[in-house]
Symmetry: D4
Subunit: 249 residues, 8 copies
C-alpha cells in the first residue's frame, strides 16, 4: 500500500465510503496467502516484476507441487523451481505442459509470458567443465528474468590464453558472472580485465583443502580486483538474479 | 591496443612507415611504469574512468608518498588512499594542499576533477553506530567516483521500526549498501524490502562467537533474500566501488 | 532425599527403628536402575514432573525397545523418543498401542496422562517450510509437556510482511521459539519485536557457506536483539523443553 | 500504536477532528529520534519496561556521552552502558552524579527509579574466579532490571563438592545463569541438577585449544542436560537480560 | 640391538668369530619383513610385549588377511584388528578358528596366549549408551593386553547421581577411561573426583554444533580438572592401549 | 608464438607475403579448440612436452570420452585421465585398445609414445598401506611423464626402523614424494634425512580430529625440516607432476 | 567422608553421642572455605597428596596473594602458582621468603615439605629451544610433585640424529613428556621409539598455518604411534601433573 | 658415517687398531654439540652444503648470540638468522663485522664464503608491494645459498598486463617463487604460464575473510595449474631454500 492508496483510504473513511472496521481490516490485510506449511506471496510478481521462485531443497515433492498448483490457479506467468530433482520435475509436468527442466542445472522453469529483454548481455564464464551445473543455474535464471546470456565455459586461469581469446565477448557484456571452484582465481582475473560489475560464484568443485568450496569462496571475497561481489557457494540462482537486477537498471 | 590500432600498426609496417623493431617494441610496450617496489598503472584512469586507488596497509609511508608524488607528476585527477593512517595523511598533505582526510574512514582523497554524477543515489545503511568507519569508507569511495550518497546509520533489525521509518529513502535509491556487524541480519531484511541490488558489507563489529566478522559474513552469504551480493569483511571501499559501477550503468 | 527425609532417617537410627546397615544402604540407594547398557532414572518423573526422554540416535532399536518396555512396567505416564526412525516407532507400537509417531519430527510419543496446561501459549515460528522437521520436534515436545502451541511457519525475513501479519499472535505468546536455517535472521527480528523470551533454534537448512547450520548458529548467537538464547543446531527438542520450563513458571 | 489507538485515529479522521494530512503524519511518525550517528529509541522504556542499554564498544566516548545526555534530557529513569571503559565512566559522571561504575564488569549504571522486584531470585554461578567480569555483567544487569541476585562464584566441576555444597541456594533460584570458560562443563552439571531454566554463558577464559571461548561455547550448545540455552561468549549482559525476562513472568 | 649385543658383535668381529660382511649385514638387518604393500614388524611382540595391531580402515580385506596369515606363520600369539568390518572378520575366521569378533566395537581378536594380569583394574566409563562402540574398543583392547576391565556405561553428568552411585568402583580403579560425546563434560567431572590418571576419549556422538566430536574434543582438552589426557575422537583403541601401559607400570 | 615467429610474421607483412587480414587472424588465432563444454588445448603437448591431463571428477563419462576422442583424432601421444572411475575406463577402452587403468589410483593412461627418462629416480614413500591410492596416482603420473619411480610403502614414523632401513634408496633419489595421512610426520622426518626436494602429499587417511586430511596438511605445511613443499590433500597427481618437473631439470 | 567414618557417625547418633543436628551439620560440612571470589579447598592436600595449584591468568595479583596468604595460614606445605607474572611473584615473596620463581616457565613455587621421590624418572623432551617455557612448566611441576626429571631440549625430528643420540636416556624414563610446536611430529617419533606412556604437549610455537598450536595439536591427536595422549596447547602444567601421577603408580 | 667408513671401522677393530670401547664410542658419536638449550649441528654444513639457519622467533637474543658465537668458533662459513629483530642484528654485529641485516626481510646474514652459482636464475614474483617482506626473505635466502635472483614485485593479477609484460623474465627462470596475499591467485596464473616448478608462498597480507593468510593458502593449495607446490604462510625462507635446492639440481 503506497502513500496514494493510504490517502485514498483515509479519504474514503472520512467521506463515509468505508467503514472503520473495513479500513482497519484493509490496513491489516497483507498480500500473501497462508497454505499452512508455506506462505504464498500473491503480490510479489506485481511488486518487483520478477518470476516467483521456489527453493525445492528440504521441501517434499507434494509441497512443491501444491505451491505451484496454487500459483497456476492465481495465474502466475513465470515460475522458477530451483534445486528441483527429477521427481519434482515430473510432478510439475503433471500440472502443466509448460515446464522446461534442465537436468544439469536442476531447474524447472514455467515461463508463460516472456519478459522484454534489455539490450545488454550477461556473460556467464566458468573455470572448468565441472562448474557447469552452477553456471547453468545462473544462466537459466537470468534468461527467464529477461536477459540475453552468453555462455563461455572452461576458460580457467591455468590456461590464460583460453580466457584472453574470449576477452572481447566478456568485455562487451553489461555484467559478468564468474563461476569457479578450486582456487576461484577466475573472479580476480576477470575482475581485473573488465570494468563492469562481476558477480562471483564459488563452486564446491574440488577436493581436499578445497573444503567444499571454502577455498574458492575465501579467494573471491579477498579478490585484489575491484568491482567483484560474491554470492554463496554453488548459488547460481542468486548470481543470475543479481546480474539480472543490474542489467535491467 | 584495440583492433583498429593493431591494423594501423600493421599498415604502418607494411608501408614502411614503421620499422619492424619499432613495431615489436610497440607491441610489447605496456601501459604502466615500474617503480621498483610498485607498478604504477599509467593508463588506468583513462581505461575505466575511475580514480586510482592505493591500499596503504602494509606499505610504508614513504612508499605511499612516492607513489602519489609520481601520480601527481603524471597529472592524475582523482586519487584515493584507503586504510591510510594519519602519518600517511600528513605525508600526502605535504605533497599537495588538495587532500581531504577522514579519520573515521581512514581514507585520504585527492579530488581534482569532480566526476559528473548520475541521477540515481546510493543508500548506505548501517546496523549500528559502530559500523560507521566501514560505512564512511564506502560512502566516501562512492562520492569520489561521482555518486549522490544517502547515509542512514544505526537502523539495525533489533528495532525494526527505525529501519521501516527510512524505507522510502532506501527504496528510492538505485543501489543499497548494507553495512552490519554482529549477526548481519540487516542485509536480509533490506534485501527482502527493496527490489534494487544490495551490496552487503559484513563488519568485524562484535565479540565472542562473532569471530571478527565471520558471523556477519556467513549470515550475509546465506541471505534468504535475493538480490544480495557480498564483499569482504570491513571492505567499505569494495562496496562503494561496486555500487558506483552499478549506479553508472 | 531432602533434608526432612534425612532428619527422619537419622531419628529412626537413633530410636532403633532402623538398623545402621539399613540406614547405610538407604543413604547409598540411588534413584535409578542399571540395565547394563543404560541407566533408567526411576525417579525422574517425580523429581521434575516432566516426561522421560530417550535420544534414539546411536542406540539400536532393541536397546530403545528394552528401555521403553521397562519404563512401561514401572508405569511411566509420559515418554518421548526423539530422533526415532520408523523402525523404532514400529517396535514401540508393538509394546503398547499408545504410541503417536510423527514422520516429520521423527518423534514417538507415549502420552498416558496429559499434563495440565498453563494459560500461556508458546509460539513456534519458522523461516521456511524446510525448517518444519525441527519446528515440529519443538512443538510436539512442548505439547507433551503440557503447553498450548501456536505454529506459524514460513515467515522468514525475506518477506517481512508475512512475519508482521502474524505479529499479534507472536506477541501474545509467553515464549517464542524461532526456528530458522540459512542466515537465521529470524531470531534477531523476532527478538526485536517481542518483549518475551525467544529461544532460537538454528537449523541445518541451507547449502554452501551455511556449513550445516553454522551460519545460522553464529548469527543467532550474535543477535543484536536482547532476550534471545540459543540451543544446538536442529535441537527442536531442547527448544521445546526450555520453552515449556519458562511457560510453566 | 496499538489497535485501540488506530481505531481512535480513524474515528478522529471520520469525525473531522483530525485532518488527513495530520493522520498520515501520525501514521508515519515513529517513536525514535535520529541523532545522525545513532537512533535514540524514545519509547522503548515505555514499550517493554526495561532500562535503555548502550553497547559502548566501537563507539567514541563523545558518542556515548551525547546519547546519554539526550536520554537524561528525555528523563529516562534507568540507563545501562555496557563494555564501558573508565573514560566513558568519567564522561557520564560529568553528566550526572547518579552513575555507578563497576571496573570488573565494565558497566556504568544510571539508576534513578528502582524497579519493583519479583519474589524469585536469579543465581549467578561461575566455574572460576577468572569468570567474574562476565558474571558481574550478568548480575548487575539483572539487578538494575529489578531482580534479587545470588552470586555463587568459583564452584567449577573439577571440585564437585564445592558446587554441591551450594546446591540448595542454586535449586531455590527461579533461573540460573551458569558462567564458565575452559571446557564449560558447569552448564551441563547445573542443568542436570536443577529443574529451572539455565542460561549458559561461555567465557573466553582459557588458552590454547580453548580458542577464545569456542570450547566452552560448543560444550554448552551440546549439553546433554535439558533446559539449557546459550548466549554469546562473554555476553553477561545478554544472560542477565534473558534471566530477568524469565524471572518476571 | 642393545648396547650389550653391540659389544658382543664387535668382540665376535675382533676375535674372528664373525666375518666383516656378516657383521655389516647384521648391523643393517632390521626387524621387519617387507610384504610389498605393508611392512610386518617381526620383532615388535618381543620388543614391547604387546599384541600386534592392524588398523583395517583403508586396507582391503585381502591385504588384512595376507598380513594376518603371515603373522600366524610367524607364530604371533596375540593379534588385534581394529576398525574391522564383518568381511574382514569372516576372512580371519577362515584363517584360524581362534578369532573373536565384536560387532559393536568392530574389533577382531586373535588371542592365543593370554597375558598375565596386574592387580589393578581399568574402569571404562561412558556418558551414554551411544558411546558403547568406542568404549568397547577400549575395553577389549585393554583386556587382550592383560588387564581387568570394569565397564560402567551411561552415567553422563546430566544425571549426576548415576555417576556418583558408581564412585567407589571408579575410585578403586588404577586408571579411568572416560568416553563421552556431546559436550564431553564427563572427563572433567571424573577427573575432579578421582586421583588417578584419566584417559579421555571424545566420541562423535551428537549432532549440529558437535561437529563430529569436535565439541567433546575441545571440552576434554580444556578440562579444568588435572590428571586428564586426551586421545583422538573415537579412538577407543588408543585409550585402551595407553591405559594398559599405565596399569602395567 | 615466440619472438622469432612474431618477427617473421611482421617481415612477411612488410614484404607483402602476408595480407594484413591474415596477419591479424594469425595474431588472434589461439592454440585451442572450443568443444562447447570444454576447451581443448591443442598446442599444450608441444608447449611443455608433457602429456595432456583430464581431471574426470565432475565431468560426465560422455564428456570425458568426447574430449579423449578428439585428442586421439589430433594424434596426442600421451593422455592421463585422473579421478577416473571404472565407467570412464571402459568408455576410453572402447575408443582405443591402448588404455591402462589402475583401480587403486583411479588413473587411466593412454601412453603411445614413451618419453625418454632422465637418470635420476623419484622415490614415492608412504606412511601406511592405506595411503596407496594417492601414492599410486603420484607414481603413475611420474612414470608416464618419463621418470624412474621407486615405491617404498608403509614406512611410517611409528616404526622408525622401517623407514631407516630404506634410507639408502630414499637418499639416492633425485626427488622424494612423501605421502602420509594421520599426523603426516613422515614429511618432516624424510625432509630432515635427505638433502633433496621433498614434495609432501597429505592424505585424507585417518578419522576424528584428522578432519579429512587437515591434520596432515597443517603438519606438513609447518614442517620443521627445510626443503619441503606441499600439494593439496590426496593430490597424488600434482605431486607426481611437480616431482617430474624437478627431475627433468 | 569414607564408609567407615559414615558408620562411626551413625553409631554416634544411635548411641546418643552425637545430636541429630550435629550429625546433619557434619553430613553437610564440606571441605573447603569460601573466600567470596574463590573457594579454597582445605582438604585437597590430604585427599590426593599433591600440592595445591593456583592458575593465575585472569586473577588479579591481589586475589592470588589473598589465596596464598590463607593457604599459608592453613599451613599448606606445597603451593604452585602457574601463569604467574613477575608482579605475582613479588607479591608472594612479600608473604614468605620461601618462593622460587622461574621467569621462563612463569611458575612460582612454595615448597616447604619436599615429597619423597619414586625411583623412576620423567623425561621432558622438546623439539626446539623455543618450546622451553612450556617444557620448564612441565618439568618444574613434576619436580615439586616429587619426581626426578631429565630435560632433553632441542632434539626435533628435522635432525633425527640429535634425538637418536639421546635415545638411551629417553628409553630409560618411566614416562616421557614430548613438547613440540610447528608440526609436532616429535610425539609420533618418540611414541614409536619407546614403550612407555608419552604425554604430548603441543605448543603455540610457529606461525602462519600453525594457527597458534592447532597444527601441532591435531598432529599429536592423530599420532600413528600408540601410547600417546595429549593435553591442551602450551599446557606444561597438565603434562607434568599427569606424568607425575603415572610415575607414582 | 657411510658404508665405507663402517667397513673401515670394523676392519680396524678386527685388526686391533681400534679398541672395542673406542669403536662403540665412535658408533655412538653424533655430529652435533649440546649447548643445553640448543643442539648445534656441527656437521650440517658439510652434509648438505648449505648455510646453517637459525629461526630466531621464540629464542632470546642471548640464546641466538650464543649459538652464533659457537658457530663462528667452529668456523662456519655461512649463517642465516631468520625472523631476527634489530636487537638480534646488533648482538650479531657485536660478534663479527661480517653481518648484513635486512630490516624488511628481518634476516641477518653472515656470508664468509660465497657459494658458486648455477647458471639458472630464480624469479621472485609478488602480487603487491605489501608482500615484499616475505619476498625479500625468500630472495636473500636464495642468494646466500648461491643463486641468481630476479625480483619482480607488484604484478598481481588484478592488472594482468603488468604480469604479462614481465613474462619473458619469468619464463626464462629455472624456478619461480610466487608470493601473494589476499586471494593468492598469482600462483595459479603464473603456474599456468610457465613450465617450470612454481613454489607458492601465501602471505598474511589482507584483512577480514583473509583470516591471516588462510585465503591465499587454500587458494594456492587448490591451484588449477599443475607444477605448483606450497609452503607455509609467510615462509619466505622455506620457499627460497626449496627453490635453491631445485635450481642446484
Amino acid at each position: 500500500m503506497n502513500a496514494q492508496q493510504l490517502k485514498q483510504l483515509l479519504n474514503d473513511v472520512k467521506d463515509g465510503r468505508l467503514a472503520i472496521e473495513d479500513a482497519m481490516a484493509e490496513l491489516k490485510k497483507l498480500p500473501f496467502e497462508d497454505m499452512g506449511f508455506a506462505h504464498l506471496d500473491t503480490h510479489r510478481e506485481l511488486r518487483n516484476g520478477y518470476p516467483e521462485v521456489i527453493y525445492c531443497a528440504g521441501k517434499t515433492t507434494d509441497q512443491v507441487a501444491a505451491i505451484v498448483k496454487r500459483m497456476l490457479e492465481l495465474d502466475y506467468s513465470n515460475i522458477l523451481a530451483t534445486r528441483a530433482n527429477s521427481d519434482v520435475a515430473r510432478a510439475l509436468q503433471a500440472l502443466t505442459p509448460n515446464v522446461e527442466y534442465s537436468t544439469t542445472a536442476r531447474i524447472a522453469v514455467i515461463n508463460r509470458k516472456p519478459l522484454p529483454q534489455p539490450a545488454g548481455t550477461i556473460a556467464v564464464v566458468t573455470g572448468g567443465t565441472s562448474d557447469m551445473p552452477v553456471a547453468e543455474e545462473a544462466a537459466i535464471t537470468a534468461e527467464i528474468m529477461g536477459n540475453n546470456v552468453k555462455r563461455i565455459y572452461d576458460v580457467g586461469v591455468a590456461g590464460l590464453h583460453r580466457l584472453l581469446s574470449h576477452l572481447d565477448e566478456i568485455m562487451s557484456a553489461n555484467v559478468v558472472i564468474a563461476v569457479a571452484g578450486m582456487e576461484g582465481a577466475l573472479a580476480s582475473v576477470v575482475g581485473g580485465l573488465v570494468d563492469k560489475p562481476v558477480i562471483a560464484v564459488p563452486t564446491s568443485v574440488g577436493y581436499g583443502a578445497n573444503f567444499h568450496g571454502l577455498a574458492a569462496l575465501l579467494s573471491m571475497l579477498n579478490s585484489c580486483a575491484s568491482g567483484v561481489a560474491v554470492v554463496n557457494i554453488d548459488n547460481g540462482f542468486g548470481a543470475g538474479y543479481m546480474a539480472s537486477m543490474i542489467n535491467h537498471m
